[in-house]
């Protein structure tokens, strides 16, 4: 029999703050963290930024060569470890870090290019994409496998799946798994604008710019932040009397292998089926889906088709929301943040809304959570979808313990 893997710690440095329960409450109230940024850019831009006091986590000397993307990761991972109460209770060689990151230290690169003065000598170690994982390892004294996963928007969901495998195989006793992204700098925002996937918005309407599954959707807003979970075997968690938020009972990884940026419903469906199969559940056992839901014209329809192809006639029994409307798209950090939200939804049996959807696009016909404060007293299992550029699909399936 397979070892059950459970979530015993949650940590976020998110656009809705650094307290996971309070963040969840803000999402339940449909509070948007998306705001206008960089007024000097030719085209209006909006994003969900993190309010972060780095001096809570680092001395000035420790900050030399540590990009924001690593700072956020260190803080979120530390919060998760404290929440799990596991520090000092694990052999360092049996502690692993599994971190997703799409880009790495964007601010360090931007400063090197646009700083005007000299390039700081620590620019390379600051921007390398595996820096966040290594900084987390140093802070938590994790001497087991410390690995970085980079599959764009699926990065941190894949990291969590890979961490669960390592726990299940007994390669580590405890895994710190999640991811971070911090690329809201002018150069990168211009690149995303050129990609034509960001939401357009009227002046003063940035907060409601992202409208997943709505007829009038026009794309996403960038977000920044980090989220980590602590994973361990259920047996270990029970032995030490740890709080168990949920069981990570299934995961499905698949690849479209069709197109770099165009999503593919059959590819996504393969990941959904794989997650269900690993958890040994039927679609009707799953009551909630935290959708990838980027609010792009193409993406939302494809995700709906993938879900419908797997759920079939039961598709309307599945409640769906995309919380990206409220916290933006954290890209490499998205899968982990949305996994935390999914775990809390399951834990509290409450469903965060799919905000700003005044009229559902008929092509996205889903049982969206449109009402505020939605309770789900029967909820037993939930999934979090992450579908990435590159054709990488990841589905995490959580079950109540």
């Amino acid at each position: 029999m397979n070892t059950a893997v459970v979530v015993t710690g949650l940590g976020v440095i998110a656009p809705h703050g650094d307290d996971a329960p309070l963040m969840f409450e803000a999402l339940m109230r449909a509070e948007s963290a998306v705001k206008p940024i960089f007024p000097d850019l030719a085209k209006p831009a909006a994003a969900a930024l993190v309010s972060f006091d780095e001096t809570r986590w680092f001395t000035k000397l420790q900050l030399a060569g540590v990009d924001r993307v690593s700072q956020l990761a260190v803080a979120a991972a530390d919060l998760a470890m404290r929440d799990a109460g596991v520090a000092g209770d694990v052999d360092p060689e049996r502690l692993g870090v599994f971190a997703g990151c799409g880009m790495g230290g964007a601010a360090a690169l931007e400063a090197a290019y646009r700083g005007g003065a000299r390039v700081p000598p620590l620019t390379i170690p600051a921007f390398m994409p595996n820096a966040p994982a290594s900084h987390v390892a140093m802070r938590q004294r994790a001497q087991g496998p410390v690995l970085t996963y980079s599959m764009a928007c699926a990065s941190s969901a894949v990291a969590i799946a890979e961490a669960a495998k390592a726990v299940q195989r007994g390669e580590v006793d405890v895994a710190i798994a999640g991811g971070s992204e911090a690329l809201i700098v002018p150069g990168v925002v211009l690149a995303w604008q050129a990609m034509q996937t960001l939401a357009s918005f009227a002046p003063d309407a940035a907060a409601t710019a992202v409208r997943p599954f709505a007829t009038d959707r026009s794309g996403f807003a960038l977000g920044e932040g980090a989220a980590f979970v602590v994973l361990e075997s259920e047996a270990r968690a029970r032995q030490r009397g740890a709080r168990m938020y949920a069981q990570l009972s299934g995961w499905g990884l698949s690849t479209d292998a069709t197109h770099l940026t165009k999503p593919d419903a059959p590819g996504q469906a393969r990941a959904l089926k794989a997650a269900l199969q690993r958890a040994d559940l039927a679609p009707s056992d799953v009551g909630y889906c935290n959708a990838h839901g980027t609010a792009t014209r193409v993406g939302d329809v494809v995700e709906r088709d993938a879900l419908a192809s797997v759920w079939g006639a039961k598709i309307d029994d599945l409640r769906v929301s995309s919380t990206k409307a409220l916290h933006g798209h954290l890209l490499g950090g998205a899968g982990a943040l949305e996994a935390v939200i999914t775990v809390l939804a399951l834990h509290h049996r409450q469903l965060p809304p799919s905000a700003h959807c005044n009229m559902i696009d008929p092509a996205c016909s889903l049982n969206l959570v449109l009402e505020p404060n939605a309770a789900a007293p029967q909820l037993e299992a939930a999934i979090s979808n992450s579908f990435a550029f590159g054709g990488s699909n990841s589905v995490l399936l959580f079950k109540r313990v």
Binding site: K60, L61, A64, G65, P121
Partner: protein, 79 residues
């Protein structure tokens, strides 16, 4: 005139190291300034004083040594 006081202020400003805790004759590496952080600090020194410290001159271990090098460069500039 020694630049030591100014360097102490700058290292406090940049890295938060209190002058009272850093013996000018002690190794800066032992205070946690590895070679790359030291290069960052020397860049900051150059920017602050508008001077250039050559690569050979920048091979220092203590704040007092660095102050002596800075003094030498600044003295040469004045001439």
């Amino acid at each position: 005139m020694s630049s030591l006081k100014e360097l102490q202020d700058l290292i406090h400003e940049k890295f938060g190291i209190d002058p009272a805790t850093l013996d000018p004759h002690a190794s800066m590496r032992e205070k946690g300034l590895d070679s790359l952080a030291l290069v960052e600090f020397i860049f900051a020194v150059e920017d602050r004083f508008g001077i250039t410290i050559s690569d050979e001159e920048s091979n220092v271990d203590t704040l007092a040594e660095l102050a002596a090098r800075v003094d030498k460069v600044r003295a040469a500039q004045v001439k």
